[in-house]
Amino acid sequence: MKTLRKTWPFHVMLLPSMIFLLLFSYIPMGGIVMAFQDYKAWRGFTGSEWVGLENFRYLFERQDSIQVIWNTLIIAVLKLIFNLFVPFVFALLLNEIRKVRLQRTIQTMVYLPHFLSWVILGGILIDLLATDGFVNRILSSFGVQPIFFLGDNDWFRFTVIVSDVWKEFGYNTIIFLAALAGINPALYEAAEMDGASRFRQTLHITIPSIVPIAAVVGTLALGNVLNAGFDQIFNLYNPLVYEKGDIIDTFVYRTAILNGEMGFGTAIGLFKSVISMVLILLSYRAAYKWANYRIF
């Protein structure tokens, strides 16, 4: 009680954001009931017909729903892995550059693509990756047959993942660079004193110091495991690659948004949230157990 008297102004300061959280994050959760209704806007939550698990049944009854979920998982997981791994390695390499100006320049250049929208990038990629486009002309000078990157089921996922990593790795590197900057220089000095080579220093000081950060980034990213990137897929996919490229979000866009089937859209949203929550909880445990790191 005594502490409360002292700290009440801080509680009051917290109040607005708590109210906002309640108002915009918790109360709207009531809308989840839509997932179990044939929701009609003019009848509202109370008047719409209850359909039980009907909306979920549609999701799993479609002949292609397993394929779509599978596509989503594969694309999202591969993106997750490479978006963790590539920036990690890149940050280590960049950190070894001793010329600060060069380091900064490279850093800026690689994170610029992050700011391009997929609508624009989609148009550029379609041109660059065309069978007579820039990339294929380079490949053909090495004697490679033209590859139909965006229209071939064998290549589509590869193209999607590589282009996503290319777009995002610079941005994701920032966090790791920040973590690297936070390592105590005394550790390196001590290691040098003991005659450790640069490689040894990296292996035994740098990497262990940023593994916890990698664990956090990875854990937070796991929440997105059913988000394979609507903007990107929507701008790049086409009927030729539906088999390997159609994901939950593009599917929702076509069925729920275009047709105004809010109940169905909510059901899929709920399904995704539940899976994401389970994954976050699991990875939280894993991070605690193996990296001895508590996030919350």
């Binding site: 229209g151 009927p239 599917f251």
Partner: protein, 557 residues
């Protein structure tokens, strides 16, 4: 803790509370449109004035001047003076990202006052259907028959199908907003300079078309190497039935149009994509694809992309609407000096048949509230628009435009000045009117174009407008378009989405585009079309067909 700090904290809290309160209130109890009017029959001018309440979704590019707003502007003042009609806004919203539809749905579900008259555009077609089903809006058929003027009735009668989407159990529940006819019908645009240099004639059959495409590719008059030329620029990323770069006429030559409901010989509706003609069309496109007549990336190309090679001067033929000589084709000469595009008719198939998809002549619907006190007032207003604005005679009130000082102005000598010289800037004040675009008579635009194509001088406002604002070849293209009037087949299903469509149609569309693209790209044999048709039917297509025909027979009564 200092007093300053405490004050700051308190201030923050108070401000937040105030913001929240502002969010919560606002909407709600402002209206109650009960003006003390007695039962009013149709009048040219109402005295005492009557009220029409409405709501506005404001196009973000629409400007206001002289401190006006959607609620209160030159058009509302005009309506008050002219007809004694008070146009009262319940609310207005800038219509970005579907804000209008969202607000409309919200006010519907939260039980707020609904407007007397509201116009819903085609982009929100589902909303219009939902509003009709909500039971808030009244049957309009009898009102229209009783109050609409002859001009309006004649315009509405040009295409009797316009009512179809809004019929429930034989009752007309919404007044279609008419648009110009044939707007999305298409012609083939061809490089006439290439034809001339090759000494060839414009193709009229598929066989001739193939010869022309082959010549464009192998003996290109501009000296382009064969792999640089795209003889026919089409794309089907989104659909086989679209606008620019549309491939549907290729199937039309074999008697069907994909992705729409066509009338069959026995009078029922059948889905175009599963008809036998598709198979022939697909094998034709595949053949053209193998020969390099169409873009290698056609499956990845959307409509705008198909215009790129055309504008770059490397494409020979581009299907598209009649107005394309303005945008985008006008820019071709910058890249290929001497390029000349000409509109030609859709070539006929082996048995002399040509088909293209038609255009719906509506772009929305106007709904009238059940509780509206004076529905006839709306007709007073709209009749005047059809009689005086839609296609005004040379001496009409709106001959120069709608409102002086807004969408037109006169200089000292009484001549119309260029719109960029209007003091205070041009505003598209047609958008201030109760119904979007004021009033359009479907055939008026084509009639005007045909008149201009025959060399007549532009006289009426519509004719002058077309002559000044459209591409130079538009009248000629319109003539080509109209010469094939009987080949235009609009989608015959315009009703609300049926139950099986909601759950099945996306999957059916998906397997359809997958099957078609794989055939064209040679990943599956042409015969896999038959398997596709079987799957389509058994995966819900038969149910959809049945529901579509139930709807169709319900509106025939």
């Amino acid at each position: 803790m200092g007093i300053k700090k405490t004050a700051a904290v308190l201030l923050t809290t108070v401000l937040t509370a105030a913001t929240l309160a502002a969010c919560g209130g606002g909407a709600g109890s402002n209206s109650n449109s009960a003006s003390a009017t007695t039962e009013n029959a149709y009048k040219e001018k109402y005295d005492p004035p009557v009220t029409i309440s409405t709501v506005w979704g404001i196009d973000p590019s629409l400007k206001f001047k002289n401190g006006e707003s959607a609620e209160n502007n030159v058009a509302t003042k005009w309506a008050k003076d002219k007809f004694g009609i008070d146009i009262k806004s319940l609310w207005s919203v800038t219509d970005t990202n579907g804000a209008f539809a969202t607000k409309m749905r919200l006010s519907m579900s939260s039980g707020q006052d609904m407007p007397d008259v509201v116009t819903i555009g085609d982009t929100d077609a589902q909303l219009a259907q939902d509003l009709i089903d909500s039971g808030i809006y009244s049957e309009v058929g009898p009102l229209f028959d009783k109050y609409a003027s002859d001009t309006w009735k004649a315009a509405m009668a040009e295409d009797p199908n316009v009512w179809n989407p809004y019929i429930r159990e034989g009752k007309k529940m919404g007044i279609p907003v008419l648009d110009y006819a044939y707007n999305h019908d298409y012609v083939l645009w061809i490089r006439q300079d290439w034809l001339d240099k090759l000494n060839m004639k414009a193709p009229t059959t598929m066989d001739e078309l193939e010869k022309v495409m082959d010549a464009f590719k192998t003996k290109n008059p501009d000296g382009l190497s064969p792999d640089k030329v795209i003889p026919l620029s089409i794309g089907f990323k989104n659909s086989m039935n679209t606008w620019m770069g549309d491939p549907s006429w290729i199937f039309g030559a074999y008697g069907t149009l994909p992705q729409q409901w066509n009338k069959s010989a026995d009078g029922t509706l059948q889905y175009g994509s599963i008809q036998p003609g598709m198979k022939q069309g697909l094998s034709k496109i595949k053949e053209w694809f193998d020969k390099g007549y169409i873009p290698k990336e056609a499956a990845l190309w959307d409509e705008n992309k198909t215009s790129e090679p055309a504008v770059a001067g490397t494409a020979g033929i581009l299907p598209g609407p009649y107005w394309m000589s303005g945008w985008p084709l006008q820019d071709t000469v910058k890249n290929a000096p001497g390029a000349v595009w000409k509109p030609i008719a859709i070539p006929a198939g082996p048995d002399g048949k040509a088909m293209r998809h038609g255009t719906a002549t509506t772009n929305g619907v106007t709904l009238i509230n059940k509780n509206m006190k004076n529905p006839e007032a709306f007709f007073t207003y709209q009749n005047y628009m059809f009689d005086h604005l839609a296609n005004p005679k040379a001496d009409s009130e709106f001959d120069n435009g709608l409102f002086k000082g807004y969408d037109y102005d006169l200089d000292a000598s009484g001549k119309v000045m260029p719109i960029d010289k209007i003091p205070g800037g041009y505003v598209n004040s047609v958008r201030y009117l109760l119904v979007r675009d004021g009033a359009r008579i479907p055939n008026a635009q084509m009639d005007a174009l045909l008149k201009l194509a025959d060399g007549a001088k532009p006289e009426t406002r519509l004719e002058r407008d077309i002559a000044n604002n459209y591409g130079p070849l538009t009248p000629e293209a319109a003539k080509v378009l109209m010469s094939q009037k009987d080949s235009s087949y609009p989608n015959m299903f315009t009703g609300p989405t049926t139950q099986s469509m909601k759950t099945k149609m996306d999957y059916l569309n998906k397997i359809e585009s997958q099957a078609f693209n794989e055939i064209i790209y040679g990943k599956s044999p042409v015969d896999s079309f038959d398997t596709f048709v079987q799957t389509w039917k058994s995966s819900g297509g038969d149910d959809v067909t049945k529901e579509v025909n139930d709807w169709y027979s319900s509106i025939q009564k």
